[in-house]
């Protein structure tokens, strides 16, 4: 039987994207801009000035009530019990077997009030998974008419200064629920680019005002619209995982190198027992970061070789606009390519083994001075 025709969802900024010359693509069932002016130019603008991203496709789940904190702590890998109000933390939802259901951000807006921001492609899976495991006195609801923006880049703080001083004084991973331009919304000092920046979450009408404000305010500062293309190159230069590439239900957070977000010593979370065992036995495969030392652009599924032997495959690869070389993340067999073992790495691109070197993430570090 043929699948019913799929209607792509559109964000509240869809028509503005069209006016701004976006090239639109299907991403996780959403019609999203992949680029405006061009991936390279947008990437550089974020590293040097500022860029505005429509992230309205991402899921916004409110977990509230007297049991909310405990419920979340038992669901996700990171420590939610000691998450202070006005702070956010990165965490993962795991299955009992340690496979990753999703990776997400948990923001604490009050003792009984949490905003969980999840991947667009996983909203339904996450909600189903969370509903099954909701503890007592806990409510879960989607933000109605959700919209979200990310403002990223070194000029970001200057651009939001006029909205509220509270924003400027936020620390990294800080979050506030605050009226901006007269409309209540959530603003966090977080992002997916490695640059300073802010993310705004709330109902479409409210976030729309922020969009207009920032576009106007950003004109002189060189603010540009940024699509998913540059969002991907920016996150990959930082070595951030992307669900569906580095993360899925067949890989564990320990294999993905996300052990720092997994608190094996807290009382309980789903998957904890499996992950404890995996930790003591050692991971069967591990994520490596490789930078090509010769010309070539690694892509997903390109074979990774260690001492001439195929040991794994690329999960995300691209040309790094900041470093001007090919960069890749991929899983390798821990037995065939043991951690810290010396040897020769390469990535097979168009049938040619291109020499590469392992990198301690991130690939890109900001120049200081």
């Amino acid at each position: 039987m043929a699948a019913p025709p799929m209607t792509l969802q559109r964000t509240p900024f869809y028509f503005l994207h069209q006016q701004n010359g976006a090239r639109l693509v299907d991403f996780a069932g959403w019609e999203m801009p992949v680029q405006f002016e061009g991936v390279m130019a947008e990437h550089r603008a974020v590293r040097e000035r500022a860029g505005l991203f429509d992230i309205s496709h991402m899921g916004q789940l409110w977990v509230t009530g007297p049991g909310a904190r405990n419920t979340l702590d038992r669901m996700v890998t990171n420590d939610i019990v000691s998450l202070a109000p006005n702070r956010g933390v990165y965490a993962l939802l795991c299955r009992e077997d340690g496979g990753v259901v999703d990776d997400l951000y948990v923001y604490c807006l009050g003792p009984e009030r949490f905003l969980v921001v999840v991947n667009a492609s996983r909203v339904d899976a996450d909600i189903a998974w969370m509903r099954e495991r909701l503890g007592p006195d806990t409510e879960l609801e989607e933000q109605p008419q959700r919209a979200a923006l990310a403002l990223q880049g070194p000029a970001s703080a200057g651009l939001v200064a006029g909205l509220s001083q509270e924003l400027v004084s936020l620390a990294k991973n800080g979050v506030v629920e605050v009226p901006l331009l007269g409309f209540e919304m959530v603003a966090a000092r977080t992002g997916y680019t490695g640059e300073d920046g802010f993310e705004f979450f709330g109902p479409a009408g409210h976030v729309h005002k922020i969009f207009e404000y920032l576009v106007k305010k950003g004109k002189d500062a060189g603010l540009v619209h940024v699509g998913l293309g540059a969002r991907d190159t920016l996150r990959l230069e930082m070595g951030y995982s992307l669900y569906g590439h580095e993360l899925d239900e067949t890989h564990s957070p320990l294999q993905a190198g996300l052990g720092w977000a997994v608190k094996l010593n807290k009382p309980f979370f789903v998957g904890q027992e499996t992950l404890r065992k995996e930790k003591s036995a050692g991971v069967a495969r591990r994520l490596v970061a490789l930078r090509l030392t010769d010309r070539g652009v690694p892509r997903q599924n390109c074979p990774i070789q260690f001492n001439g032997q195929s040991v794994g495959a690329v999960t995300s690869g691209t040309f790094s606009p900041s470093l001007n070389v090919g960069i890749a993340l991929g899983y390798v067999d821990s037995r065939l390519a043991p951690k810290d073992a010396a040897g020769v790495w390469s990535v097979v691109v168009h049938g040619r083994a291109v020499p590469a070197e392992p990198v301690v993430l991130p690939f890109y570090r900001k120049q200081r001075g």
């Binding site: 992949v34 680029q35 061009g38 991936v39 390279m40 130019a41 293309g229 190159t233 010309r295 070539g296 652009v297 892509r299 691209t318 040309f319 606009p321 090919g326 168009h350």
Partner: protein, 125 residues
């Protein structure tokens, strides 16, 4: 090069009367920022429509086909060093390689610039 002098393929390559090959302005626009170009070796014999070069953007790799049969006579090392030339000058400095055509008459069978423009309209609407 004057696009009027070029002949075009349905896979968006162009070939000049002297055998120089590149990709069309439409193709470079669709590919977006070219960040990598892999060129064939000089002396390689190629059949018509045989993949013999790769042009890559940040997002994807695109095979470039030989417009006609012949032998690769020269490649543009400047484009390999500075792939953005393909975007900046698709009909000039951004050429990819030059071939000795097995039969120059093969080139005449390809689309003229005008024919290619008509083809683009029919293909996109």
């Amino acid at each position: 090069m004057d696009p009027q002098q070029l002949r075009f393929t349905t896979s968006h390559e162009w070939i000049a009367p002297d055998g120089t090959v590149g990709i069309s302005d439409h193709a470079q626009h669709e590919i977006t920022d070219v960040v990598f170009v892999e060129l064939p070796k000089s002396g390689r014999a190629v059949k018509a429509q045989e993949p013999c070069a790769v042009v890559e953007s940040v997002k994807a790799a695109f095979d470039i086909y030989a417009p006609v049969a012949g032998t690769i006579a020269a490649v543009n090392e400047e484009t390999a060093k500075n792939p953005a030339l393909v975007n900046q000058h698709p009909y000039g400095a951004g050429w990819l390689y030059k071939m000795t055509m097995a039969s120059p008459a093969d080139r005449e069978k390809l689309m003229t610039h005008e024919g290619y423009q008509t083809f683009l309209k029919s293909a996109t609407h």
